[in-house]
Amino acid sequence: MKELTDRALNLAQTKGASYADIRVVERQRQDISVKNGAVQEMSLDSAMGFGVRVIADGAWGFASSHRLSPKEVDRVTDLAVQIARASALAKTGDVDLGPPEAHQDTYRTPVEIDPFTVPLNDKVSLLLEADREARAVKGVKVAESSLVCIRENKTLASTEGSFIEQEIIETGLGLVVRAVAQGEMQQRSYPNSFGRHQGTAGWEFTRKWDLAGNARRIAEEAVALLKAPQCPPGVTTLILDGPQLALQVHESCGHPIELDRVFGTEAAYAGTSFLTPDKYNSLRYGSQIVNLTADAVTPTGLGTFGYDDEGVPAQKTDIVREGLFVGYLTSRETAQQLRRIHADAPQRSNGSMRADGWNRIPIIRMTNVSLQPGDWNLDDLIADTDDGVYMLTNKSWSIDDKRLNFQFGTELAYEIKKGKLGRMLKNATYTGITPKFWGGCDAICNRDHWNVWGTANCGKGQPGQVAHTGHGAAPARFRNVQVGVMK
C-alpha cells in the first residue's frame, strides 16, 4: 500500500502539485431485510478504489478510479493535476490550507463482536422474531425489519507526511410497521425512523435495542393511529422525544454550522447558512440552557473516527454555549478563511472533513452534533406541562436553504393536559424559525434519557455524498410553537 501511495504523492509533486493526498478506501456492506415474514433482501456489497486530491497552480483537482494498479495510479494522479490546472482558469485566489497536518497513526472502531462474524442465521432469526411479534397485531399491513453491517478500511497519505490507516465499523437495525385502512396509512418505527438506528459499534449494539420486545407496542400504536384524531392547529408547548430532537439538531444546527455552507461553497445545491461570520460569538442561538457540541469521539456515535479525511485528529468543539453561538464545523481551508475575519478563531481545522468513499472528495460534514443533557426526568417534565403536545419519532422534514424556516412531522403524538398524557394524535406537524424555536427551550431531560442517535442518510455535495452523522439528544420542551400545519 505504501508503495502505491508514495508513487501517487511523488508523481503529483513532480507534475507541479504543491499539495497532494491519496485515499485508498475499501468498503464492505451487508444488508438483510425481512418483510411480512419473507426475507426480502440479503446482500453483500464490496467496493474499493482510490482518489487523489491535489493543489496545483493554487487550485484543487481530484480524480479517482476503482483500478488499483501502478499504471492507473499514474493516470489518475496526472489527471488530478490537469484538472487542478483547469480549475485555475477561474480562480480568484490560491488555496490556503494553513499549518501542515502530519500524523502517522492507526485507528479502529472499538467493538466487542465483529458484526461480520455473526452467522447469517442469527441475523435472520433476530429480524424474523421482530416481524412475527409485529404481525401478531391485527390491522398491521406491513412489517419490515432490517439490519446493516458496514466495514470501511481506509488509508490516507499526504505530501505533508501523514500516513493514517483506519477501520470504521458500523452496525444498525430497525423495524417499521405500517397499518392501512380506508385512505389512511400510519406507521411506527423503532428504535428510530427511516428504517433503522445505527452506530459505530459491533454486534453488541443490537443487544441494546430489543426489536422483538418493542415490536408489539409499536404495531399497536400504528393501528391505533388510524383512528386517532388529527393533531389540531395552534400555538402551544411542545415536548420532543430524543429521536425527533436529534433530527431537529441535525437540520437546524448541524447544517448551518458547516463553514463551507457559510462561505457559499454549497450554494448550488444544499444552500447557505443564516449563521454568517458576523454572528460568530455574538448571536443568541437559543435559551440559556441550550448547549450544543460537535465531536468525533463519542463512543458509538456515527460521526466518530480517529482522523478526518484530511488527516486532522478527532476532537470536540463547543458550538452553542449557554445559548450563545460560538463554533463552526471547519476544514483546514475554511479555518483560515474564518481567521481572516475573526483573528481569534482557531488556527486549525476541528476535523470535520469527510468523504463518502474513494470516489468523492472530503467536504465538511457533521460528526456527532449533540444537545447536551439537562436536569429533568421525563415524567416530571410532562407533569410540569399544563397544556401541550408530546411528539415522537420523525416522519417528515423540510427546512429552507439558509436553515431558518423548518417544518417537521412525527409518527406519533399525545396531547398533554394538566400534566398528563391524553389522547393519541396522528399526522402531527410543527413549524418554526430556528433561533426563535431554540430560544423557547426551557427544559431538557437528563443523561438518563440521553442517547446518541444515528442519521445514516444525510445528503450534500455535487456529485452527491451520503454521510452518517450522530446526534446526542434527550427529550426537551419548547414554548410557543405552531403545531398542526397540515389541513
Binding site: K35, A38, V39, M42, S43, L44, D45, A47, M48, G49, A59, W60, F62, A63, S64, S65, H66, V76, A80, I83, A86, S87, A88, L89, A90, T92, G93, K141, V142, V180, G183, M185, F263, G264, T265, E266, A267, A268, T272, N359, R360, I361, S396, W397, S398, D400, D401, K402, L404, N405, Q407, G409, N427, T431, I433, Q462, G464, V485, M486, K487
Partner: protein
C-alpha cells in the same frame, strides 16, 4: 468506457462461475467529471472512473446478491461465491417466481461522443463564463457543470442480454446577490447543445430582479410554477404511489381509485424510457424492455409500473420493465416521467394572472401525508408577486403545505413546451411543462 464486448465477456465469465439455478449479472460502468464553482471561482473539480458487477444467485425461491468493483477473475469468483452463500442461507420467498426471460429490445441512441470526450478545460471555460457574467453584475455564482458516460449491461442465465450506453451533460447555477438569488438548469445528452452563457444569463436576470425582496402573508394564491417546481411534484408522485409495490402494500394514492378521477382533466402523466425527449433507458435492471405506461390519463388513475416480482404476485400481470437493481425493497420505479403539455407560453400565463406568485423552483420538499399526497417545501431562487398580468415585486421565500393531486386539479393552464429536468443526484430525469395553479396553499414564510 468498458464497451459492450468487454462487459459481455465479464458477464459470461460470471455466469460460468455460478452454480445457481438462475443467475443475473448487472454491470455498471461510469465515467463522470464534474466542475463545481462557488463565489465566482472553481472550488471543486472531480473525475470518477468506476465499474461495478452485481450478481444475483437464485436457488429455488432463495435469492442472494453480492457486488464488487474489481473485474479480475479472482474477484469476480469471490462475488459469485458470496452471492451463492448468501442465497443458500436465505429463507424461501414465496412471492418469488423466476428471473425474467428475454424480451424484444430496442436500442436507444443516447450516446454523444461530444459529451464523452468533454475535456476539463471545456467545463472550466463554461464555469468561468458563468462566473464572469455574474461578476460583471456584482453577483456571486455557484453551480456545477458535469458530463458523464453511463453504461449498463443486464444478463441472466435465461438468455437476457441487454446493453445500453448513454451520455448526459448537466449545467446548474445559483447566482446570488446580498439579498437575492436566481436559478437556472439545463440538461442534454449532447453537451454541445448546452450554452453556459445563456444558462448563466437566466439566473443573473432572476438574481437582479429579486433584489430587495418583500414580505407576503401566507395563504392561498394562484401560482405560476416553472418546470423545476412541477417536476418536483411529479417526481414525488412517482416516489409515493406510481409503483405496484405501493399499491400492493395499500399505501398508494392510486389504491381503490383505478378508473376514477383523482386529479384535473388537464393532467396526463406517463413513463417512457424510449422517448428521446427524456433521459433514455430502454430496459430495466432485470434486462426487461421498458414499456410506456400511462399512469394518469386526463385526471383518471390508469396504471402503475411493475417489475417481475410485483407482477408475479398478480395473476395475468407481466413486468412493465421498471425494476431497480436487486435486492430492491423500493419496488418498481418510474424513472422516465412525462407530463402532457398544454397550449400556453409562460408569458401568456403571466399576462392572464390578476394576482399570484411566480415560483422558479421548490427546495427541500418532503411528503407529509403519502395517500393524500400532501407535500411541504420552500420556494427558492426567484419568487415574485404577480399583479395585473405583470411581475411587480420580488418576495421573500414561502413555505407551502399542499396536496399535489389537489393542486394539479386546480391547474387551469399548462405550458406548451416540455423541459427536461435531471434529478440532482440520480440517473433519471422528468419532462414536464410549466403550470398555473389556483388556490395553492402557503403556510409559512422565512426571512429572506
Amino acid at each position: 468506457m468498458l464497451g459492450k464486448d468487454k462487459m459481455q465477456a465479464v458477464a459470461e465469465k460470471v455466469l460460468g462461475f455460478s452454480e445457481a439455478d438462475q443467475t443475473e449479472v448487472l454491470i455498471f460502468g461510469k465515467d463522470e467529471q464534474l466542475t463545481r464553482f462557488a463565489v465566482n471561482t472553481i472550488h471543486q473539480n472531480v473525475s470518477e472512473t468506476n465499474a461495478t458487477v452485481r450478481v444475483r444467485c437464485v436457488f429455488g425461491k432463495k435469492n442472494g446478491v453480492a457486488s464488487g468493483n474489481d473485474l479480475g477473475d479472482e474477484a469476480l469468483r469471490k462475488v459469485v461465491e458470496s452471492a451463492q452463500t448468501v442465497a443458500r442461507f436465505q429463507e424461501d420467498n414465496p412471492d418469488f417466481g423466476s428471473l425474467p426471460g428475454p424480451g424484444k429490445l430496442e436500442t436507444s441512441p443516447a450516446f454523444f461522443e461530444s459529451t464523452a470526450a468533454c475535456a476539463p478545460q471545456t467545463r472550466a471555460r463554461g464555469a468561468a463564463a458563468i462566473c464572469s457574467l455574474s461578476r460583471e453584475n456584482g453577483l456571486e455564482a455557484a453551480g456545477a457543470f458535469s458530463t458523464a458516460v453511463d453504461e449498463l449491461m443486464a444478463v441472466n442465465s435465461l438468455g437476457v442480454s441487454a446493453y445500453h450506453c448513454g451520455t448526459i451533460a448537466h449545467i446548474v447555477t445559483v447566482i446570488m446577490g446580498p439579498d437575492s438569488s436566481g436559478y437556472a438548469q439545463a440538461d442534454n445528452m449532447d453537451v454541445t447543445a448546452l450554452d453556459p452563457e445563456t444558462i448563466g444569463r437566466v439566473a443573473v436576470d432572476k438574481a437582479l430582479k429579486s433584489k430587495n425582496p418583500t414580505d407576503l402573508e401566507p395563504g392561498e394564491y394562484t401560482v405560476i410554477l416553472e418546470e423545476n417546481a412541477v417536476a418536483d411534484m411529479v417526481d414525488t408522485l412517482g416516489y409515493l404511489g406510481f409503483s405496484a409495490l405501493a399499491v400492493q402494500e395499500g399505501r398508494s394514492f392510486m389504491n381503490d381509485r383505478f378508473g376514477q378521477k383523482i386529479t384535473g382533466d388537464r393532467i396526463t402523466i406517463w413513463d417512457d424510457g424510449h422517448d428521446p425527449r427524456g433521459m433514455m433507458l430502454p430496459f430495466d435492471y432485470e434486462g426487461v424492455p421498458k414499456q410506456k405506461v400511462m399512469l394518469i390519463e386526463k385526471g383518471v388513475a390508469t396504471g402503475v409500473v411493475y417489475d417481475s416480482f410485483t407482477a408475479g404476485r398478480e395473476k395475468g400481470k407481466t413486468s412493465t420493465g421498471h425494476s431497480l437493481p436487486a435486492p430492491n425493497s423500493w419496488g418498481p420505479y418510474p424513472m422516465n416521467l412525462f407530463m402532457a403539455p398544454g397550449e400556453a407560453t409562460k408569458e401568456e400565463m403571466l399576462a392572464a394572472t390578476e394576482k399570484g406568485i411566480w415560483v422558479t423552483r421548490f427546495h427541500y420538499t418532503n411528503p407529509v401525508h403519502p395517500i393524500k399526497t400532501v407535500l411541504t417545501g420552500m420556494t427558492r431562487d426567484g419568487t415574485f408577486l404577480i399583479e395585473n398580468g405583470r411581475i411587480t415585486r420580488p418576495l421573500k421565500n414561502l413555505r407551502f403545505t399542499q396536496s399535489i393531486l389537489e393542486a394539479l386539479s386546480s391547474a387551469d393552464m399548462l405550458g406548451r413546451d416540455l423541459k427536461l429536468i435531471k434529478a440532482d443526484w440520480e440517473n433519471f430525469a422528468t419532462c414536464v411543462p410549466a403550470a398555473r395553479i389556483r388556490n395553492f396553499r402557503f403556510t409559512g414564510t422565512t426571512e429572506f
